[in-house]
Symmetry: C2
Subunit: 228 residues, 2 copies
């Protein structure tokens, strides 16, 4: 048996610095806020360094969050969360492949379409946004995570605990364990291993169902994995 590690053991993620590309959007700002509140050094990345700095300043002066251009943010951090809109996903990652070499890249992008019947999952040539990242970033370790985390809850100062699980997918055990530990830095959140990267499509696509739940129940739904 090569693997004797307990799936419940987590490495120490308290010292990890985290860039959030596309960090001026709701999802990115929410993750940046919660990770910085947990004490991790966070750099919001954006095409415009100035907008990134403004977004960081608006999150609060008393937490370790700053802003920079996407490339600078990526180069300066251990972990890089990709939270850009699906439309610009491939182009951005292609342009940053050198800056992301050697990094742990966490893709949380959900390729969704919307029409009058609501949200639906888009087909992705590579199978999923995460697999597209893997194809474009051969020198990075790519993990998929944080797909179902409500930006509304993360950005609400009245919400002390974000009560949901983050499914973490990838083929590198150290990488998925690190991201699980990073997710667990947010009070209320557990990082649960959710399978190999080839099974990322349905986790990304499930966001369409969660949006349908939110509309029907007027909720900010997430997922908990039971019996774990």
């Amino acid at each position: 048996m090569a693997e004797q590690r307990s799936p419940y053991d987590l490495p120490d993620a308290s010292g990890l610095s985290v860039a959030v590309l596309g960090g001026t959007g709701d999802q990115g700002r929410g993750l940046a806020l919660r990770l910085a509140m947990a004490g991790n050094r966070v750099v919001i990345g954006s095409r415009s360094a100035e907008r990134a700095q403004t977004a960081a300043a608006e999150l609060g002066a008393d937490i370790p969050v700053s802003g920079a251009g996407n490339a600078e943010a990526a180069r300066g951090c251990d972990v890089v969360i990709v939270a850009v809109p699906w439309e610009g996903h491939g182009e951005l990652l292609r342009s940053l492949a050198g800056d992301l070499a050697g990094k742990l890249v966490v893709d949380c992008v959900n390729p969704l379409g919307f029409d009058k019947k609501g949200p639906y999952a888009l087909q992705v040539e590579e199978g999923s946004a995460a697999q597209q990242a893997e194809a474009l970033l051969p020198d990075s370790r790519v993990v998929a995570a944080f797909h179902h985390v409500s930006a509304v809850l993360m950005l609400d100062p009245a919400v002390e605990r974000v009560e949901l699980d983050v499914l973490v997918l990838g083929d590198d055990r150290d990488a998925t364990d690190t991201v699980r530990a990073l997710a667990a830095r947010i009070p209320g959140v557990r990082g649960i291993y959710g399978g190999r990267l080839r099974n990322a499509h349905q986790v990304e696509a499930l966001t369409a169902n969660i949006i349908a739940v939110n509309r029907r129940y007027k909720a900010h739904a997430g997922v908990r994995v039971t019996d774990v």
Copy 2:
């Protein structure tokens, strides 16, 4: 506003009779057992009426469960759960289209493949097993549900409450509400609306991730929807 119903309201499902096609498999027997324990009349369907009757008898003499051929089971019940292996799904439904006319058909089939790396989602021409059912059964109302319910837990007599949510998908509000109510007959289970049928693929495919969770954590995982 056409819809003023609370999403938390449920119709009375106590009087519904339920056929379970493919009811001699683990998933089918588990659902049959739990629904019969809840007091619903259940008919296990199988290609072999004799095997169906044997399976029903083995579930217990003190609950309202019997066995029959698939067609007879379908014709005699209000709700028909399709729990057959994916391989025989299309062929069976095509052959039973007449028997299923007018019925509420609940598809819980997960089109999965397995290789040395574990489970993965199969591509389905119609989009999902549930959409295939909808295409083959124009005179039935088709709902997708019960994908992530652990057969092990359902068949374990020591498990009094099955603590998970059943995502219920479909385009007909009355139909999804009825299936939500049916799911909620099982102690511990909630039936949560999970979107339109066109978003069924990822719910079916997510079973691959749940199997990955089960293997990693040695668990019988399910899903709870948070904030609902």
